[in-house]
């Protein structure tokens, strides 16, 4: 039984692509056959985050228009043999494909993969409608800011209106030191306001910038807090009950030592 998961947010720049890359890599790390599908036609970025930008020959639009077979467009990941990327077209726009075509494509990919993870473009227009057309479940990414949470609320409404019931939430870029001093909305506040299930909380982590610079998803970095957060999210996606990790800031010597050895967090 394969599953099509769409990663969406409404607002741009909250970490959809990074989340897609890490969930996909994390699932592949667990041994699943995974394909990442970049639905952001015209503004593709998933290839760059995955470090596969030099290997693109064909793209999603080529497949949909019948210029090539799906297998020809799939790019095999550098690190995980069971992970593939289907890149978006860069020189076309969102209207180059229709929801029906996306649905058909997803169904074809189901035959060969356990998980199909779709990176949805920002916004609520055609690109969004295409990206969610073939999905079984939705993940909504947000950051603890008024604008991002507001857009997430709108997206949740639209997902539910399109029969994608029970979307789950990833709260990205939380900074516990700011939450502690009352200068950032807490996880509980955001979950309370949006009233949906929490899939995970990802701390703001410099390692994300470093790993994105290198084109290597942070999920495989054992010393990174964000990496651990994504590994936990992957566990929850495959149905394992993992407690939320302790994000309490502990900048003391012991805290740093614990972090170094990957314990306590």
């Amino acid at each position: 039984m394969s599953e099509v998961i769409v990663v969406t947010s409404g607002k741009g720049g909250v970490g959809k692509t990074t989340t897609t890359a890490n969930i996909g890599s994390g699932l592949a790390l667990k041994g699943y056959k995974v394909v990442l599908l970049d639905a952001d036609i015209g503004l593709r970025n998933l290839d760059v985050v995955m470090g596969l930008e030099n290997r693109i020959v064909y793209d999603l639009v080529d497949v949909v228009e019948g210029h090539c077979r799906i297998k020809q467009a799939l790019i095999k990941d550098k690190r995980y043999s069971s992970l593939y990327l289907l890149p978006a077209a860069q020189t076309r726009d969102k209207n180059a494909v229709s929801p029906e075509q996306m649905q058909k494509l997803c169904d074809q990919l189901r035959e060969d993969f356990d998980y199909i993870i779709i990176d949805c473009p920002a916004g609520i227009e055609q690109g969004f409608k295409n990206a969610i057309a073939g999905a079984d479940r939705g993940i909504v990414v947000t950051t603890p800011e008024v604008s991002a949470v507001r857009d997430a609320d709108r997206i949740i409404g639209l997902l539910e209106a399109s029969e994608l019931r029970n979307p789950s939430l990833i709260l990205n870029r939380i900074r516990m030191n700011m939450v502690k001093r009352g200068d950032m909305m807490a996880m509980e506040d955001v979950v309370d306001i949006l009233a949906i299930d929490l899939l995970g909380v990802v701390p703001d982590d410099e390692n994300i910038v470093v790993s994105t610079n290198r084109g290597e998803p942070v999920v495989s970095d054992p010393s990174s807090l964000a990496g651990q957060a994504f590994r936990n999210i992957v566990e929850r996606i495959i149905g394992n009950d993992v407690p939320l990790m302790n994000l309490d800031v502990n900048d003391g010597f012991m805290g740093k030592l614990k972090k170094l050895f990957g314990i306590g967090n």
Binding site: V146, R150, V179, R181, G182, D189, I193
Partner: protein, 93 residues
Amino acid sequence: MELLNLFNRKPSSGNVAKDRLKLLLIHDRINCSSELLEMMKTDIIRVISKYMDIDETELDIQIGQTKSEESNGTVPVLYANIPIKNMRKAGNQ
């Protein structure tokens, strides 16, 4: 910094964000613009004025939220506080 916060009574920015967001979403979710609310207000005044004298300047109509009777969540609610000046029209009926 925290010591300073004790003296100036400004609410924390996190709480400000939370409150702004809650209000924003109440309006977003019911899809009700301020123009719509204004139109509704005019209509309500017109209907009520048929039966009683009301104080239009003190009239307060807004959308808020209240605890749902069915579930644990909250539901949007229309508050209308309409001060009555005189019931004379009602007596004429």
